[in-house]
């Protein structure tokens, strides 16, 4: 060390943080190096300057504000429990009402001169300039843009299913969840009460973008839950892309594309994530391939949104389904 400058160790030397052997080596170097002695004087000035910063008493208003926020959260949790119970009741009542009043199994089509309605097995295809609208029973509509091809697979009161071969559709559905499905070569978009765009080519490569409500994109038991304002990529023969908010920073969405492609770029994802990107991070918990990566994702998430009561770190890291769901429901307030 005698011949090596110690500029990076000067604070540790001045504050007695070096072990005895290192300290002795530093002493020997300082005895012969004017540059490092000058640096040590600067560090001492800095240390004395920082010592001038006073400890300041936090205002009483801070604790009062914390108390009010905790009261508000407790009220909100109580209200959420009541709301969930009421929503469940409403869904059951709506489903019963819907089943009883659903009309026939042919759906109206607008925009194609030769086709006024479609039933199970029928194909619909728009040309290069044509657009079409399908009235899906009484639960909503599907708009088809030019160069779109699809087929009606099921037209039952409790299952409305289309197969999108290629092109772009815009679906607006006002029905209880899991009554409307769109299959593609890369999975199925399951309506959870929403409005969304679905775009894909013949291989299933494309994307899902949600404007209202939620959509679940599913493939071979794997699922991406996509809320309003978010999208996910779809790829043939692969699990659905990890969902992300459309307003995410460019660096974040680019890193996510790399992660979905080859599993790389996790550090960049974590570094550029914002609080509402916990949507993406929550999905990553089950998608990373090592426990070390899962721990990194978890630690980044809790820096934005601590765990709800009753959910522990061990629950999350062991991918306990109930715990993950409970945390997602808590996080969804910020999505």
């Amino acid at each position: 060390m005698e011949n090596t400058h110690i500029s990076e160790l000067l604070a540790a030397y001045a504050e007695g943080e070096l072990a005895a052997p290192e300290h002795a080596l530093a002493d020997a170097h300082l005895a012969v190096c004017a540059e490092c002695r000058a640096g040590l004087e600067d560090v001492s000035i800095g240390l004395r300057a920082v010592a001038e910063l006073p400890l300041t008493t936090a205002p009483d208003a801070v604790w009062n504000a914390i108390g009010r926020e905790l009261d508000r959260r407790a009220d909100r949790r109580r209200a959420a429990r009541w709301l969930a119970a009421a929503a469940a009741l409403l869904i059951v009542a709506t489903a019963v009402w819907y089943v009883r009043r659903t009309p026939g199994e042919r759906w109206e089509v607008e925009g194609i001169a030769s086709l006024h309605s479609v039933g199970v097995g029928d194909w619909i295809e728009t040309g290069p300039m044509a657009e079409a609208k399908i009235k899906v029973g009484s639960i909503g509509t599907v708009d088809m843009t030019p160069h779109t091809r699809l087929r009606v697979i099921t037209a039952k009161p409790l299952e409305h299913r289309l197969s999108l071969v290629s092109g772009r559709i815009h679906a607006r559905i006002t029905a209880p969840p899991r009554l409307f499905f769109v299959d593609t070569a890369a999975g199925a978009a399951v309506d959870l009460g929403c409005e969304y765009d679905l775009v894909c080519d013949r291989e299933g490569n494309g994307y899902l973008r949600v404007m209202q409500g939620w959509v679940s994109y599913e493939w071979q038991g794997k699922e991406s839950l996509v809320p309003a304002g978010a999208s996910c990529r779809t790829r043939a023969g692969h699990a659905p892309g990890t969902p992300f908010f459309d307003d995410a920073p460019a660096g974040f969405s680019e890193a996510l594309a790399r992660f979905d492609g080859d599993g790389s770029a996790l550090p960049a994802l974590l570094a550029t994530a914002r609080q509402r990107d916990t949507l993406t991070l929550w999905h990553l918990l089950t998608r990373v391939t090592t426990e070390a990566d899962r721990l990194r994702v978890f630690e980044r998430m809790v820096s934005f949104a601590p765990l709800p009561p009753g959910v522990s770190r061990d629950h999350v890291l062991s991918l306990d389904r109930a715990a993950l769901r409970q945390w997602r429901e808590e996080l969804a307030w910020t999505w």
């Binding site: 990076e8 540790a12 560090v43 800095g46 920082v50 910063l53 300041t56 604790w63 914390i66």
Partner: protein, 190 residues
């Protein structure tokens, strides 16, 4: 009668927090609030409103996240990681910070003992600290207010001990450079 050290008392309050006992949080708040507030205050160049907001956010994160704190880490390391992340997140949403070049330093050489000059000196130091790059600033403030060891600072900032040593060395030299007009005052200080 034996007395409890800080870690033991923190453990007691943490256990109370986990039971949902707000008195546990109150005790942790009382024990750490001034240091958390002071770090935020000097991180944000004396912005008292923002420092109060940061302090509030930190303790709200603490109460909702206390379940994932495990006793194998030092509580203060976990707490000050929350402080560091909250400060950095707030800083990203905030207007650009003061740079060293923007500082208007007052010379206090004429009568350093005068109270107003002392206050002015403190403000000058505060401005110089606020102009440090964020990771350097956090290392300096954690060391000064919480007296964390280099290892504890490294754990809180999620970097190596060597990085902490390097950041502190550079930070103090940058402070010396920024405070050159009032250097004589510090040279005569015990």
């Amino acid at each position: 009668m034996p007395t409890l050290n800080r870690r033991e008392t923190d453990d007691e309050f943490i256990a109370a927090c986990r039971r949902g006992d707000r008195a546990g949080l109150a005790a942790l708040y009382q024990a750490h609030k001034d240091k958390v507030y002071s770090i935020a205050l000097h991180f944000f160049h004396g912005d008292a409103a923002l420092a109060a907001d940061i302090t509030q956010q930190v303790f709200l994160k603490l109460i909702t996240g206390i379940g994932q704190f495990r006793g194998d880490a030092v509580f203060t390391t976990w707490l000050y990681r929350l402080v560091a992340n909250t400060c950095i997140d707030a800083s990203r949403r905030r207007k650009p910070e003061v740079s060293v070049a923007d500082l208007h330093l007052a010379s206090t050489a004429s009568s350093p003992a005068a109270e107003w000059e002392r206050k002015r000196l403190t403000e000058t130091v505060q401005a110089a600290v606020a102009a440090l790059p964020e990771p350097f600033r956090l290392a300096v403030l954690l060391r000064h207010f919480e007296e964390l060891s280099y290892e504890e600072i490294a754990a809180a900032l999620e970097c190596s001990t060597g990085t902490v040593a390097s950041r502190l060395s550079r930070a103090h030299r940058m402070l010396a450079e920024a405070l050159a007009p009032v250097r004589s005052w510090f040279e005569t200080k015990e």
